[in-house]
Amino acid sequence: MEKRVVFNNRWLPYLLVAPQLLVTFVFFFWPAGQAIYQSAFIPDPFGLKTQFVGLGNFEYLFGNRYYLESFSTTAIFSVLVTVSSMSFALWLAVLADRVIKGSSAYRTLLIWPYAVAPAIAGVLWLFMFNPFTGIIAWMLFQVGYVWNHNLDGGQAMALVVAASAWKQISYNFLFFLAGLQAIPKSVIEAAAIDGASFWRRFWTIIFPLLSPTTFFLLVVNVIYAFFDTFGVIHTITQGGPQQSTTILVYKVFADGFVGQDLGSSAAQSVVLLVLVGILTVVQFRFIERRVHY
């Protein structure tokens, strides 16, 4: 799309884009370039000079058991976060959509977790599940289940998934509610007159009509689980126990800052860069399509 009417000015447009371009170059292209450059080198053991290894860092990465495990950890984590958060949110949205009185009060009570930082969500859930003093850990102990996410990888994963999904419920709820309210009521009423029960109507009519929203949220939630959950992991498990919650973004940080393995960290950055690129393209393809609905 182009504007018919434009202003003519020799230098003003450059002046206007300059601040953003400057920031973009210094804090985006320069570091991204650095990441690609560094991914082709390894520092010698004394850190005095670096040695060119070409794609060696990548070869090493993809032959490294821990890195491959981190991929599957990320996949499991993202699927669990996405599915649990979206299904709970959809259930709430369906309920809120059926309510006539007080729906705005319900909405207010459901949207605020959006504002809670992932790191704070981590602290809250860590507190409830603290193996020695946490209220839920204590309740579980009363029914004979021992909770210690510092030792049990499965429990650690469950906890970071719960905290991450909890924080994302509001977002999914808002979009599902908007999607539900956009469905013409005449369609649903027609089915009701035909005598279809609510859940039958839901699965045969409402859910298919909601599919654009669902697909959109799928992409957004996967991106969230990949990149925005660092705070949750870092506050609750630090990737442990035995790397069982080390997702890719956490590994870039752990190898780069804690392990000081810059070549590997840079190579991981490049891998993630490609992954984000793919996800963004998927998101835009889909959204472009959505505009034409």
Binding site: M1, K3, N8, Q20, F28, L92, V99, V220
Partner: protein
């Protein structure tokens, strides 16, 4: 409302009951945190902890605000506020300007610039964390507000949003302004800005929350406790080997850290929903 086609009675009550259960599940972690911030450490380390607030609200919050962990929480809140506002205002200004240039001017490299900016969409700071840290360190910006803010204001989302908005503003308006002798600067200030008011406000809400909730970046670049933000500062307070900070103080800090963004979301709900839906388009 699909309620129209429902039978009244049990169904309605069940719906309300189910919603209340759902909300209770979602609010439970916050309730626990609030209760924990009003009792004493002794009550918390001997499970089960109480489920109703105790009388130590002021003690705990005052201790958090004035003493805190490595830095007092009032200072961390102030740092968070400066960072959040800096990111928000900075993003809005540079995006308004660049979107204006891209939509309303014809100039060489226009599309190239647009794509360069657009590409930043693809790289959250978490991904390029090590090299960005090195760049900021080499510019001597560690432990500074500039270092906290600048790397995070490079983002394409806001530029994109303003571009979309400007595209929908009718050409006749620009034409009329030009006939009246208004130059590009006058047009921008007198017509475009007032017309973008609600969009700017909606974006403000979203970006403020984004800025306030930053974690990894401040964690890396603020080694000086007096520059810590509250979201990362709370992590420093968590017990690691030698326990120093007590849980009620940590939970009071968590409540304080949540309060500003939650107030913004709840208080400006309409703008928030608008901003959210639009910034994802």
């Amino acid at each position: 409302m699909s309620g129209m086609v429902e039978k009244r009675g049990y169904g309605t009550w069940l719906t309300h009951a189910a919603l209340i259960v759902g909300i209770a599940v979602i609010c439970f972690p916050i309730w626990i945190a609030f209760v924990a911030s009003t009792v004493t450490q002794e009550e918390l380390i001997r499970p089960p902890m109480p489920l109703l607030p105790g009388p130590h609200f002021f003690d705990n919050y005052l201790e958090a605000l004035l003493t805190g962990g490595v830095a007092p929480v009032w200072q961390m809140l102030l740092n968070s506020l400066v960072m959040a506002l800096g990111i928000t205002i900075g993003k809005i200004i540079i995006s308004l300007l660049s979107a204006y240039a891209i939509v309303y001017f014809k100039f060489r490299f226009r599309m190239l610039f647009f794509w360069l900016i657009f590409m930043t969409l693809m790289l959250p700071v978490e991904v390029r964390i090590v090299p960005t840290y090195e760049v900021v360190a080499s510019l001597g910006l560690l432990n500074s507000y500039t270092g906290l803010i600048l790397p995070l204001i490079a983002s394409a989302t806001a530029t994109f949003l303003f571009r979309q908005l400007f595209m929908t503003i009718p050409d006749e308006l620009t034409e009329a302004a030009r006939v009246d002798g208004a130059g590009p600067v006058r047009f921008f200030i007198d017509i475009l800005l007032p017309m973008s008011r609600t969009n700017i406000a909606a974006l403000f809400v979203i970006l403020f929350i984004y800025g306030w909730n930053q974690y990894l970046w401040p964690l890396l670049i603020t080694t000086d406790p007096s520059m810590n933000t509250v979201i990362m500062g709370i992590k420093q307070m968590l017990p690691t080997g030698d326990q120093t900070v007590e849980w009620p103080v940590i939970m009071a800090t968590a409540m304080l850290a949540m309060l500003p963004p939650v107030l913004v979301v709840v208080g400006m709900q309409k703008l928030f929903v608008k901003g959210l839906v639009e910034s994802e388009k």
